[in-house]
């Protein structure tokens, strides 16, 4: 499977890493994990019989927010799980990482799989859940196989299964793979897919906490979210919170891609300035000038260079700057990039990935894509930009799931910040930027 493309010296995820601390790319086995102090959180909980409520309380204190995109406080989510519910309940890990620009969960699973298993086991303990599934993006089959292997190791060593480590706690965990559908990252689509159906999101309410997998109470978290849990248990919620900023606890793995010298994953404290992150990624490739950044995965609004350079990387700061931290995928674009063409590729993505069940998304994503395509190809009309905005408005907030918003937000932000460039395409049937992507 090999190391990342550009192996870098020392701690490859950055000096502040806690989830990926000490990871070299080759030390993924159970033995390695144990030698890093792995599974100590689970052992501690079970040997000290820490009450589940206390685990949840610790999570709440940590201000850990979901790393899958929505940034929902994890402790709060865990407290929604009806712990006393008598029937079946499920814990689900969302490893369907498919948001363009995001590739952090893949690294967690291939290089540090046991931290996820431990995090899920702790979650299961805290919420009294006997069975879990880890839904893995279909395209990363090698990672699925590695997770299967890691699970087998964990099962053999009694970190998973019946009477874990001799306690009364049972938790069975399985891997499930997707097979090429971005929408299955949306949590309810993921549940449908796990049930053997098309990945079509469900309308909420009811929320998974009351009606989830097979109609049973279910908690879903992102891979990175679970992976942060062992550290929190070992070091306390307060310590985690202190790593970041109030309401933005801990570290976050940012997937930096695009026009940087060293694309890759960097785990930094929340609140780290963007400039610092850019520096970690080797700065701009070939010394070009920064033009724009999508700071949270392709679904989030793009921001121009000057705004980004003044922004810190945490949920609240990026929101204030007019975008969202999302899944932490930082897509960096340099001065040679055409914004129309960039938007075109993203619009095509949402058009291609819409599940097709609800009207505004099914019909609207195609409409958006076709209009941007026209503009890019010199067939734009003066009224197109307003129409694009209006169609985006008619999608946003009116769909079953947030894919509709994800398709609309980039359109509005690209036009907002780069209207001139779009106008130029329309007026002159060509691009302002001399070299294309």
């Amino acid at each position: 499977m090999g190391l990342p493309v550009a192996p870098f010296a020392g701690d490859m995820y950055g000096p502040d890493a806690v989830i990926m601390k000490g990871i070299t790319g080759a030390n993924w086995r159970l033995q390695d994990y144990l030698s890093r102090g792995g599974y100590s959180a689970l052992k501690k909980i079970l040997s000290e019989k820490i009450p589940p409520e206390q685990v949840v309380a610790e999570l709440k204190k940590s201000a850990l927010r979901g790393r899958g995109g929505a940034g929902f406080p994890t402790g709060l989510k865990w407290s929604f799980m009806p712990r006393q519910y008598p029937g079946a309940k499920y814990l689900v890990c969302n490893s369907d990482e498919g948001e363009p620009g995001t590739f952090k969960d893949r690294d967690i699973m291939r290089y540090n799989p046991h931290i996820l298993i431990e995090g899920m086991a702790i979650g299961a303990y805290a919420m009294g859940i006997p069975v879990g599934y880890n839904y893995i993006h279909g395209e990363i089959w090698d990672v699925f196989e590695r997770m299967e292997e890691a699970l087998a190791e964990a099962r053999a060593a009694s970190f998973i299964g019946k009477k874990i480590l001799g306690s009364e706690f049972n938790f069975e965990l399985h891997n499930h793979h997707g097979w090429g559908a971005y929408i299955c990252g949306e949590e309810t689509a993921l549940l449908e897919s796990l049930e053997g159906k098309k990945g079509q999101p469900r309308f909420k309410p009811p929320f998974p906490a009351s009606f989830g997998l097979y109609g049973k109470p279910t908690t879903i978290n992102n891979t990175e979210t679970f992976a942060a849990v062992p550290w929190i248990i070992n070091n306390g919620g307060d310590a985690f919170l202190a790593l970041g900023k109030p309401n933005n606890g801990g570290t976050k793995i940012f997937s930096v891609s695009g026009d940087v010298a060293r694309p890759g994953n960097y785990e930094v404290k929340l609140g780290t300035p963007f400039a610092k992150l850019l520096e970690m990624a080797g700065g701009m490739r070939d010394g070009k000038k920064l033009k724009a950044v999508i700071p949270g995965g392709s679904s989030m609004p793009v921001l121009p260079a000057d705004i980004m350079m003044a922004t810190d990387m945490d949920y609240d700061s990026i929101a204030k700057a007019g975008s969202m931290l999302g899944s932490g995928a930082v897509i960096v674009m340099d001065e040679t990039r055409c914004m129309v063409k960039s938007l075109l590729r993203l619009s095509y993505f949402y058009y291609e990935e819409s599940c097709g069940q609800c009207t505004p998304c099914r019909e609207g994503t195609g409409w958006l894509y076709r209009m941007v395509d026209r503009i890019e190809h010199g067939k734009g009309k003066p009224e197109d930009l307003d129409l694009l905005n209006s169609v985006a408005d008619n999608i946003q907030g009116r769909t079953i799931c947030a894919l509709g918003d994800a398709a609309a937000m980039p359109v509005r932000a690209f036009i907002k910040h780069y209207r001139d460039e779009f106008q130029h395409h329309i007026d002159h049937k060509q691009c302002v930027v001399p070299t294309y992507i």
């Binding site: 559908a181 929408i183 098309k198 309308f203 309410p205 058009y351 291609e352 990935e353 819409s354 599940c355 097709g356 069940q357 609800c358 009207t359 505004p360 099914r362 019909e363 609207g364 994503t365 195609g366 409409w367 076709r370 209009m371 026209r374 129409l387 209006s390 408005d393 008619n394 907030g397 009116r398 769909t399 079953i400």
Partner: protein, 778 residues
């Protein structure tokens, strides 16, 4: 109760209501497509977006639960913008081909586009085109019109119990299909035509034959199965063009079986009898009514005078109206004969004369049952909508137990089943009685001494004993059974042990009404009058070669008779044996009453003029009564007949399933070892109208009958692929492997011209292999 304010109006709604429920209750219309009150909520069309105070974005009324104190605005700027936005999206890829669309005039999209659509389109990109699908003989498609509401898909999964349609692909490429090469023709599939809010799924038989505004609408009642489905019949220029459900939550809800929906084609069949005919010296000729009626009266009178009234027999089908059945028996009695019957497929008539078999409960109460035993019924095909009710309950708390002779897929959850040869049904039931009696510590009823319960019986007993609200239903097959009364007695015994309700699934529209009209008159029954041939037969709607238990016997009885009068809407085989044929009206051309299996009398009126010289049967019988100088035939309306027929009393008071002496008798130990025939009547062969509905006969259920048997029998007969079998030396049928059958049996449908040469439905048969290469032309 929750308080909610809708457009400034306060109201209270029950807990768990959605905003759509609340707006419905308030009488406020919220536009919608995917929402349907009988289907699960998909919330995918987004047409019903409304403005909810304090919500950051508009919410779908269909899926949003009401919270206490909620304020909803259905016409605020936010709501209207959202609705208009959605409408625009729905129309951008829609072909807007209303002028050539069958749905035109009754299209929800068309209607709502008037209110919410823009005048011009802002969409200038190429429109999507979707290939049409061949969904078989009943449903025609124009898939480009589909708005992806998935009502049709949800219907299959949730109501019909089989997923015939699905939405494949995704995004803009999502489309509705049936699985490659499969047609859509389960017994309920036509409902998707009503459900489709646009013209994507329309009726194939109706296609391009009328615009909705040319049609007049009339209420009627289904003449087919015992449910009594309420119909809206649509007429253009005195011709029935289409049949749709008329909503009645207590009966058919908003559904119709395909039989009820498409059988109307049979009303316009080419073999309708249009003029009275008489046969003299072997030749038929058309005559005036007057001549025909006098000829008929004279013929009957002559037989009675020469051979005695006992030689006059009257046979009707249970698809005739109460009024007709009443007058028929009154006429026979007036002539001095009580040889009248309508139970043409029954073979055991030993039940007490005071039994008037009915469902034993209201149809709507099926929803509350938690345990059911079904004895001898292919529920889905015999009673599509009762099956649907049981299916719905079975999704929740109902356990279904089945004793039957075939293991066909009933498209519902069956908890326990015992699939046995026809001769073993009584034994199987006896075991169940024994198991229940044992569990209850009750003594074994007489006749059952020594009966040991097998595993299946024990499991069923456990299931039935564990319920609080249990019912036992006797199906068509058990009612036709030569030991029907024994089965009846066993079921009654079981019901008593369990404290359960029991009843009979009425085979036909008037299975109950026939009893109330006195058409089971106590003289010779339907079987006797064929077994001991009579000299005169009065046939009302009956086609003995297809309707009778033993078609062969029936035919020879007909042929030897001195005089046969056939009152029928059709020219059927009576041309070979009758002496007079009198064209009488099918249900759409006359007024009348059916009493459904739950004992509900439903009257209907004629809605088209009788075809050509056709006359309502009650009028024809009245004139015959007059001509034969029978008293009491001076009716001037069918209502007056009805009043006499039901003696002015509520029919429900006369319903009775109880045998006074529920004597079980001796249970046959084993079958004879001969090959047992399993003869069910195929869904589209049950009555004269549906037999003539061509579209239904192109469906899988309308396929040519074959001889089915399990592998063991197949081998025993040395059969190979493509072989045929000769049954009883007469009927030639293709042999097919059918592992859903018990050992020692062969499934050969009844009620079909291809099997009309065979003897009684339950008679054993002899089978000879006809190898594939020696095929004989039939």
């Amino acid at each position: 109760m929750l308080e909610i304010e809708i457009d400034g109006r306060k109201l209270e709604v029950p807990d768990g209501s959605t905003v759509m429920d609340a707006t419905n209750q308030a009488g406020v219309y919220v536009p919608h497509f995917c929402y349907h009150k009988k289907l699960s909520i998909a919330a995918n069309c987004r047409m019903c977006l409304v403005h909810v105070d304090k919500a950051p974005k508009p919410l779908p009324a269909c899926a949003t639960p009401v919270t206490n104190g909620m304020k909803v605005f259905t016409h605020s700027e936010q709501a209207i913008n959202a609705q208009k936005g959605v409408m625009e999206f729905l129309l951008i890829n829609h072909p807007l081909d209303c002028p050539i669309c069958d749905q035109g005039g009754e299209c929800q999209l068309q209607d709502l586009a008037m209110g919410y659509g823009g005048s011009g389109s802002r969409y200038e990109e190429p429109k999507r085109v979707v290939n049409n699908k061949n969904l078989g003989p009943l449903i025609s498609t124009d898939m480009t019109r589909c708005i992806h509401c998935t009502r049709c898909v949800r219907f299959g999964e949730e109501i019909a119990g089989i997923m015939e349609l699905g939405m494949i692909g995704r995004g803009e490429h999502a489309e509705i299909i049936a699985f490659v090469g499969k047609t859509v023709d389960s017994e309920l599939s036509g409902n998707v035509i009503d459900l489709c809010p646009v013209g994507a799924l329309t009726s194939k038989p109706f296609r391009y034959s009328a615009r909705t505004w040319e049609l007049t609408r009339h209420s009627s009642v289904s003449p087919h199965c015992g449910l009594g489905s309420n119909l809206t019949v649509q007429v253009k220029q005195n011709r029935v063009m289409r049949v749709l459900p008329r909503e009645n939550d207590a009966i058919n809800e908003c559904w119709l079986s395909d039989k009820d929906r498409f059988a109307y084609e049979g009303l316009n069949a080419s073999d309708r009898l249009v003029k009275p005919m008489i046969r003299e010296n072997g030749a038929w000729r058309e005559v005036d009514w007057q001549v025909a009626l006098e000829f008929a009266a004279n013929g009957i009178r002559k037989v009675r005078d020469q051979h005695g009234a006992v030689h006059v027999a009257a046979l009707a089908t249970p698809h005739q109206t109460v009024e007709e059945l009443y007058l028929l028996q009154k006429l026979a009695h007036g002539l001095g004969s009580s040889n009248v019957d309508f139970r043409t497929r029954q073979s055991d008539f030993s039940a007490d004369s005071n039994v008037v078999p009915w469902l034993g409960m209201a149809i709507a109460d099926i929803a509350q049952l938690d345990r059911v035993l079904v004895v001898g019924s292919t529920l889905r095909k015999d009673h599509p909508l009762i099956a649907h009710r049981i299916r719905q309950a079975a999704k929740r708390h109902l356990q279904v137990n089945l004793i039957h002779v075939t293991d066909d897929d009933l498209a519902m959850r069956i908890t326990n089943k015992a699939i046995v040869a026809p001769s073993q049904m009584a034994r199987q039931l006896a075991q169940l009685v024994a198991a229940v009696a044992h569990a209850k510590g009750a003594p074994l009823p007489a006749g059952l001494a020594g009966t040991e319960a097998g595993d299946a019986a024990k499991r069923m007993a456990d299931s039935l004993l564990s319920g609080k609200n249990c019912a036992l239903f006797v199906g068509n097959f058990a009612q036709h059974h030569p030991s029907a009364t024994q089965l009846h007695a066993l079921v009654q015994t079981l019901a008593d042990l369990l404290g359960a309700k029991f009843g009979f699934l009425g085979e036909a529209a008037n299975s109950v009404g026939g009893y109330l009209a006195g058409a089971a008159a106590g003289g010779m029954n339907a079987l006797q009058m064929m077994r001991e041939p009579r000299q005169a037969y009065l046939l009302l709607g009956a086609e003995p070669e297809l309707d009778c238990y033993d078609p062969q016997q029936a035919m020879s009885a007909m042929k030897q008779a001195e005089f046969v009068v056939a009152l029928s809407p059709y020219q059927h085989q009576a041309l070979d044996y009758a002496h007079v044929m009198l064209p009488v009206a099918p249900f759409t051309e006359t007024s009348g009453t059916f009493v459904s299996t739950e004992g509900k009398a439903q009257s209907f009126r004629g809605l088209v003029q009788p075809l050509a010289e056709t006359r309502p049967a009650w009028k024809v019988l009245r004139v015959l009564g007059n001509l034969l100088q029978v008293d009491g035939f001076d009716y001037d309306s069918s209502e007056a007949v009805l009043k006499d027929a039901l003696s002015g009393s509520d029919p429900t008071s006369r319903l009775n399933n109880r045998l006074t002496q529920g004597v079980i008798g001796k249970i046959e130990a084993q079958g004879s070892g001969d090959i047992e025939r399993i003869a069910e009547v195929p869904i589209y062969q049950t009555d004269a109208i549906v037999r003539r509905a061509p579209s239904l006969h192109k469906t899988r259920d309308g396929a040519v009958p074959v001889a089915g048997m399990n592998g063991e029998m197949y081998e025993r007969l040395g059969l190979r692929d493509g072989d045929q079998v000769k049954v009883n030396g007469s009927s030639l049928l293709s042999a097919v492997l059918d592992e859903k059958l018990p050992a020692g049996c062969i499934r050969i449908p009844a009620g079909h011209p291809l099997t009309a040469k065979l003897a009684g439905m339950f008679d054993t048969v002899t089978i000879v292999r006809v190898a594939a290469q020696h095929k004989v032309a039939v």
